[in-house]
Subunit: 226 residues, 2 copies
Amino acid sequence: MKTRDKILLSSLELFNDLGERNVTTNHIAAYLAISPGNLYYHFRNKSDIIYEIFQEYEKLVDFYLDIPEDRPMTLDDMTFYLESVFDGLWSYRFFHRDLEYLLDRDPRLRSDYREFTNRCLSAISRIFEKLADSGIIEPQPESLRGAMSLNVWLVITNWMAYLKTAHAAKASASLSLHELKQGIYQVLTLEIPYLTPAYREQVMSLREQYRPTMPNQEEKREAPVS
Amino acid sequence: MKTRDKILLSSLELFNDLGERNVTTNHIAAYLAISPGNLYYHFRNKSDIIYEIFQEYEKLVDFYLDIPEDRPMTLDDMTFYLESVFDGLWSYRFFHRDLEYLLDRDPRLRSDYREFTNRCLSAISRIFEKLADSGIIEPQPESLRGAMSLNVWLVITNWMAYLKTAHAAKASASLSLHELKQGIYQVLTLEIPYLTPAYREQVMSLREQYRPTMPNQEEKREAPVS
DNA sequence: GTATTATTAGAGTATATACTCTAGGGAGTC
DNA sequence: GACTCCCTAGAGTATATACTCTAATAATAC
C-alpha cells in the first residue's frame, strides 16, 4: 500500500481510538515508523488529513443513503439504512467527537459538513415519506416530517457521545459496534406512535432486537441483524 | 469580588465564548490582569476550575428539575422546565462542547456527570409521568417512558451542537439564547403524538412560539415565553 | 508594633506540537 | 554515467501551554 494511503488509514485508526485531539502528526509518523518529514511530504498539514478522511466518510454515507425512487420502500430497506448509518458512524467515530473544534479550524470542512447534514436530513425525510407510501407509517404533513427528521438526526449523531459520557463508568471502557447499534432502538422509539396497525408488531419486534442491555451487564453476542 | 470567584466567572465566560480547548490558564490570567502565579494560588490546575464550574452547573439544573410531588403538573410547569433547562445549557454551554475530552481528563467529573445524567433522565421521566397524571399526555408504560426520556435528553443536550455545526454558515456566527430555545420546538415535536385531545391545541400553539426561523433570516425579537 | 497568614507578581521551565529544511536514496531513462 | 523524479530520513525550530518558584506585599491577629 502507498505511504499516502497508509497515513490516511492509520490516522483514522488513531483518531478513532484516541480522539483527534490526542493524536499528533508525530504520533502518526511514529506509529507508521516513518519520519515526520515523510508525512508532511504527503500532506501539507493535519487539517488536510482530516479533510480527506471526512470526504471518504461523506462518500460512504451518501452512497448508503441513496434512496431508490423506482420502487416502494420495505422494512428491510429501513433496517438497511439504519444499520448502514450506524456502521458509518462507527468507522469514522472520531469525527463527531471533536466536530465543533474541527469545523472551527477548517472552513472547507465547515461548509462541506453543513451541506452533508442537509443532505442527510433530506434523505431521512424522504425515507419517512416513502415509509408512509408503503403504509408502514402514517403519512405526516411536511413540516412535521422536517422536525421529526431533525430529531432522528440528533439521536443518531449523538448516541455515541451519550454512550461514552453517561453510560460508561470508566474512561477506557471499550465501546463496541454492538452497543452503538442500540441507537437503532432509540430511533425506532421515535417512530412508534406513527406506525400503522398493519406493521406495528413487526417494527416493534425489530426494535426489540436492539434493546440495550444494562450497562456492565453486557453479554457478548452478535449484532442481531446484519 | 474575591479573586477566586473572579477566576471562576471569567473562565466560564471565556470557555463559553472560545471553547475550553482554546482558553489557556495564561489567557484567563491575562484577561483578569492577574499573574499566572496568582491563578495557581487559587486553583491547583485547570481541571479544578472546570470541575468547580461543573458543580455550579449541576446545582443549577438540580434546582430547576426539582419536581414538586404535592400537586399536579401544569402546562406552565412544563414550559418552566424547558425554559430553565435551556437557560442552564446556555449559561454553561462550553461544557457540552468538549464533554468527552473533559471527562477523559478528570475521573471525578466523569463519575459526577454520569450520575448527573441519570438524575436528569429520571426527572424527565417523572415529568412525563406527572404530565400523564394531569391528562396532558396519554399515560405510557414505564419502558417506553424511559426510551422517550432518553431521546428528549439527546435532543436537548445536542441541539446547540447542531446549531453550531450544521446551521451556522460562519464559524463566528454568534449564537443567541433565542436560537437555542428553538430546541424547545424540537422537544415538543417529540411529545406531539402523545398529547391528549384536551390539551393538543394548547401545546401545539405553545410549540409554535418556538418555531425556528430560517437560518440567516433571523429577526431580532425577545424569547416568546419567559 | 510585631508576628503570622493570605495574597499577588512575574520570571522561568519542562514538555509538547505542528511543521520545516536539507540531504540523500532508489528507480527509471537516455 | 548522468539526469530526473519521487520519496524518505531525521535533526531542528518557533510557538504554545500548563504549571512552579521565589520574593514581596497586603491583611489580620495578638
